[in-house]
């Protein structure tokens, strides 16, 4: 048997083991320096470690590159250090937030959270009493009503911009962008001034959902527009060439082809409003018992529950607030991941 000669692919752009060893050495030197400086000077704490390590590492890396490769690469090394600092500072809060919510919220989680409401309990009661069934059903109803209102409007807007392409494409794009910047409290005030004071004169889940759909429409419209733009023109032309009218082409070819993307748009819309607090505080009244009717009576919701528990400020209520946030975060995470998975599948096809 002859020995087969295996040709191993060469990657000349990759750093050699020697280079990797050297950069490891620089890293180690930076760590050591920061440790020594913290030990012998009055500077203490995580902030000192972090900033000293960054400074020392940058200086060492700079000098190392300056003497081995020259000024241009030394500058490049500084840029690399700063860029790494930037992404660290951007990502550090999210890790802290996730860790905090899971550690603090975990204590308040128990099974009856999902089977009981707060009808008979106050938020300062021991944590294992009562639950947030009313908040979960309330948020579900709010989201559902908001979806019913904003999905048609959002998708029609997107279809207008990609299929009809009429005179108003640019202004509408502009307006949708402007609408996505409307502060949530302004949406709440608007529904108060336009519907609650003149017409209904009472708080209910429905008016809350109206305010939420103002925030939801732009998200759905923009995401759907992006999705519809990805549909190849061949499909539209094929539809028309087969004798379909534009209406039939859009309804039977374009929209079905973009189905998973449109679902993604809806999911992102839900994620946008599920935790929206200000309009819910202004409009829904926030009841403590399960209320299945969006048109009458106060309606509880997760953000309202969290807010109320936080505002009371006792140890039990704050634990409840964190538990509520944990559940809200898990919902948002699940929505986000499913949107990702859906859009991944779409792009890989």
């Amino acid at each position: 048997m002859t020995e087969k000669q295996v040709v191993r692919p060469q990657k000349p752009w990759q750093s050699s083991p020697r280079e990797r060893f050297n950069s490891g050495l620089v890293l180690l030197a930076g760590l050591l320096t920061s440790y020594v400086i913290v030990a012998i000077t009055p500077m203490k704490g995580k902030l000192a470690y972090f900033s000293l390590f960054f400074l020392a590492f940058t200086i060492y890396d700079f000098t190392f590159h300056y003497f081995t490769r020259g000024m241009a690469l030394a500058k490049d090394a500084i840029a690399r250090a700063f860029v790494a600092l930037g992404i660290t500072l951007a990502v550090a809060p999210i890790i802290s937030i996730l860790a905090t919510v899971f550690i603090r919220g975990y204590k308040g989680i128990h099974l009856s959270l999902f089977t009981k409401d707060m009808k008979l309990n106050s938020v300062s009661d021991p944590v294992n009493q009562g639950g947030l069934l009313h908040a979960l059903t309330g948020t579900g109803i709010l989201v559902l009503v908001a979806l019913i209102i904003s999905v048609p409007l959002g998708i029609l807007t997107a279809i207008y911009m990609t299929e009809i392409k009429g005179r108003f494409v640019r202004p509408i794009k502009f307006l949708v962008q402007a609408m996505s910047g409307v502060p949530s409290i302004v949406a709440g005030l608007f529904i108060l001034s336009a519907i609650v004071y003149p017409i209904t004169k009472s708080y209910s889940g429905f008016v809350g959902a109206l305010a939420l759909s103002i925030l939801m429409i732009p998200t759905i419209a923009r995401t759907s527009e992006e999705v519809l733009l990805l549909i190849p023109n061949d499909l539209r032309e094929a539809g028309v060439a087969l004798g379909g009218t534009q209406w039939r082409t859009v309804a039977m070819v374009v929209v079905p082809a973009a189905k998973s993307g449109l679902v993604t748009a809806m999911i992102l819309g839900i994620a946008r409003i599920a935790g929206e607090t200000a309009p819910v505080l202004l409009l829904t009244g926030g009841g403590d018992s399960v209320n299945g009717n969006p048109f009458s009576g106060p309606m509880g919701s997760l953000p309202f529950y969290i807010w109320k528990a936080y505002a009371v400020g006792t140890a039990e209520s704050v634990t409840r607030a964190w538990a509520g946030i944990l559940i809200l975060l898990v919902i948002v995470l699940m929505l986000f991941i499913s949107a990702r998975v859906l859009s991944e599948r779409r792009t890989s096809k």
Binding site: I87, P93, S184, V186, Y197, L268, G275, T277, A321
Partner: protein
Amino acid sequence: MSQTVISPASVGGPTKREITTQPRVSDRVFAGIVTSGALSSLVILGLIFFFLTFQGFSVLRTQGFRFITGSNWQVVQDAAGNFDPKATQFGIGAMLIGTVLSALIAIVVAVPISILSALFLNFFAPPFLKKIMVAVVDLMAAFPSILFGLWGFFILMPSAEYWAKLLHHFLGFIPLFQVDPPIYTRSPFIAGLVLAIMVIPIVTSVAREVFSQTPPDRIQAAYALGATRWSMIRAVVLPYGRSGVIGGAMLGLGRAMGETVAVYTVLNVVYQVNWHVLLGAGGNVASMILLKFGEAGPEEIKALMAAGLILFVLTLAVNSLADLIVRRSGGKGR
């Protein structure tokens, strides 16, 4: 021999279709429905403006320009307990300054971090890391604001207080960083930091988008001329993406100015003009509305509507400007 033309219709076949460029009825109905649906954004924005003006008009008229410049919020009742429009003062000047101040702090902190992160994601990160980090940053944009508020209050506040003391200790000679009396909790600085964390994902994704549109031929040309990664970025990417990044920063500014709940939890809303960013007293129009709404009488509600109108116009202006700048981005570069 005469030839008889047998039309399909005469023997019961399909009639000859009239060929026209006129759209069918179904298409016209379809276009009408879609267009009216698309105009909903115009209608909603118009209605917001109309109703807030409608409710707040009486307050705006009696208060006049004082509503924006004044810093008093006093509801005065006459002897009989009736509302006295003459003596009552509604002014949101202090809150407007506070809004701008905390939003500016947020932008000053967030924009450098966002630009660096966007550069990292586009030009430095290995592919697997890029994928994870992009997902993480996008996820952060989807977090509800109440989460940032609680996290800011319980976790960030103790650290930020310490940072504020350091700033005061080393930079206290600058008037901006003076603190008197020494109250460091719930200051505009901390509110600005929380807002910065909320704004970073927005600015980062805009910057990433803009940077990724840099023409690849210019990038390759820079490399071919012997540029390092950093000199390529400085010569090609940054000049190309400058206006887009400015637009992204303004989008973040608009978002930071309208934020309610997160600011409310970490900021001590006090009715005074405060330029000292480290001092624990500040304001924000949105959180002021939330604060006053609970115990507001009917006239005060009208004033709050007027405040909402101002906030709406302000954020709309900032957002529109940002949108225009982003849309026109893609500058020349070298």
